[in-house]
């Protein structure tokens, strides 16, 4: 933006802040330097109107609240002013530790969009007279990254507008287009999810942001729904949360081996053939896979269903790797989605 344009816009803001009356475009042109033109000359007048439209758009992009109204009962032409109450940041009396927290918060984002928004927000607080200690820390540093879909989704929630996106679950071969009235975005155990009403399934659904492989497109009109007051975290936690370890297993571990298994043992009894450990687990399938990782260092004693599952898996690995076999055996499970989610809650 040229210097004259910036100057014109600053003067426009000052002018509209200072007026109580709505000023028409014509009145503004006669007051604010930079809008001089001949209203009788059609081309000149159109050029002014275009310039004025661009300037208004720029002020709106910046967040300047332009009020529109009619200047007087004799005049139907729209007029403009800026209500100071709407324009000004309210006074925020922050104590030094609170200001320090805001300063740390503003540095949290790694993404350029959010980082820029946070730092321009902080600049406004500083302009409001708040001093921020740039060296303050909270002792624990949080590093947060968000997926690209975060910003368009939160903006869509704000506007109460439905979205569509292509969603790819690794267990499927192709992405599917989903249509959602988003209710909110949730960070749960380091991953971001969007929760909302799935318009095609006609039900509540949540989606992992990292699996959105397209842009987020808006569909339909704004303001057509109201997100219900539900605990979004609880919803996500329910579908991808940890499971309770209610079953107990007994395993034999070679002396000095399988440190990863020993850390989870409830009890450990040394014996002549190794150490007998007891462990708690939730899911036979997942737990068996984890134990198989330790090979001959761990032998399952009990329960039989776990022992059988481990043997089954070991046999499948031997069969798949046998040279006479030619092509490796195909995977058996189609319920991979749950396998991935179980892995997240791995011991």
């Amino acid at each position: 933006m040229s210097r004259t344009r910036t100057e014109r816009l600053v003067n426009l803001v000052i002018c509209l802040l200072s007026t109580r009356r709505f000023l028409t475009a014509g009145q503004i042109a006669s007051i604010v330097p930079g809008y001089e033109h001949d209203p009788e000359d059609e081309r000149d007048h159109e050029a002014f109107q275009r310039k004025f439209e661009r300037d208004k758009a720029e002020l709106r992009e910046l967040g300047v609240p332009l009020e529109i109204g009619t200047p007087s009962v004799w005049d139907n032409e729209p007029g403009y002013r800026i209500a100071r109450r709407e324009y000004a940041l309210p006074d925020i009396p922050l104590a030094p530790d609170e200001a320090a927290a805001v300063g740390i918060a503003a540095r949290l984002w790694q993404q350029t969009g959010l980082a820029a928004a946070a730092s321009s927000g902080l600049a406004k607080l500083r302009a409001g007279g708040i001093d921020v200690d740039p060296h303050a820390t909270l002792g624990v540093e949080a590093v947060v990254t968000v997926d690209p879909a975060f910003e368009p989704l939160t903006a869509a929630v704000r506007d109460r507008q439905a979205v569509t996106f292509d969603y790819h679950v690794p267990e499927r071969d192709a992405a599917r287009t989903r249509k959602l009235q988003p209710w909110g975005v949730v960070c749960w155990r380091g991953r971001w999810y969007v929760v909302g009403h799935d318009l095609e399934r006609g039900a509540e659904r949540c989606f992992r942001l990292s699996r959105i492989v397209s842009g987020v497109r808006r569909v339909g009109r704004r303001g057509v729904y109201e997100p219900p007051k539900v605990d979004l975290i609880a919803y996500v936690a329910k579908t991808s949360g940890p499971v309770e370890r209610t079953s107990r297993a007994s395993v034999l571990v070679r002396p000095g081996r399988a440190a990863g298994v020993r850390r989870w043992a409830e009890t450990c009894v040394p014996g002549p053939d190794g150490d007998r450990l007891t462990l708690r687990y939730a899911d036979v399938d997942f737990f068996a896979g984890w134990l198989v990782g330790y090979g001959a260092d761990v032998v399952v004693l009990d329960p039989p269903e776990l022992r059988e599952e481990v043997v089954k898996r070991l046999k499948a690995i031997v069969a798949a790797g046998a040279p006479a076999d030619g092509a490796p055996a195909a995977g058996a499970s189609a319920e991979g989605a749950s396998a991935g989610d179980r892995a997240e809650v791995a011991v």
Partner: protein, 321 residues
Amino acid sequence: MTTSVDRLGRLLNLVPYLQARPGITLAEAASDHDITERQLREDLELLWLCGLPGYGPGDLIDMAFVGDGVTVTYDAGIDRPLRLTPDEALALIVALRTLAETPGVAQRDGVHRALAKIEHAAGDLADAPVAVRIPGNADRLEELRGAVERRHALRITYYTATRDETSERVVDPMRVLVVGRWAYLEAWCRRAQAVRLFRVDRIDASTELEEPARVPVQAEPTDTRTGTLFRPTPDLPLVTLRVGRGARWITEQYPCEEVVRGPGEHWTVSLRASDLDWARRMVLGLGAEVTVLSPPELAATVVDTARTALAAYDAPVPALP
């Protein structure tokens, strides 16, 4: 946002900013706005030409320069900064909510109070549709944070997952950080003579020593700007796997060098393993869903291990002693 809008925003901000800090040096004001002193001077020169309609000497924004300092003597009505935009409110509020949720942080009370005040100031915008929950062992993190703050060395019992071993070592703590779902202690490891990130849930025990921490000057903190801590280096062995549908989730769990989808339902996935023993445990754990394409020695050891393990099950379950 475009740079032009940025500059306009900065100019509108500058007047109340300077007004709140009479006599502030140009250097300090420039650094607070992330601009050079020269850019700041240009901004001030421009503001000097702006003011109330009439634009006479008494209507224009006025400033007094004394030494290196500047004082606004007339603000032409821009005495407050512009309110927060929806994006600014969201970025600050969600960041504060995240800090409030981060286990082990000091001055959590101040974070909560700041959050309440910013939400209040943001009005309607405070209803940010974002919730954050970071589970973690807050007590353990507070202990570790205490050691960092008191600059004491720590003796820790640490489980190294890549080598499947638990060992004791003395470390000089540098900082505690939470990245995604895991918390870490960054410290100088005296045994490795290098900076190491210890995942807090794998620190099985820790004792704060009387001895002061001695972090050497060459200890460089890990760069966290990309949001990932484990960046595989080309010197680590490359493992290529044939992955069935049910194990495709590993491509979301581990950083992969290459993922070739198909033909058919199998994917070919290449990743760098910091340790081949770790890779063997991972592949065994995934069962028949995954077969090793390379290196051949990994493929062989996976099958050998499974065969040996299977032999142990030929014997009946040993009776309890």
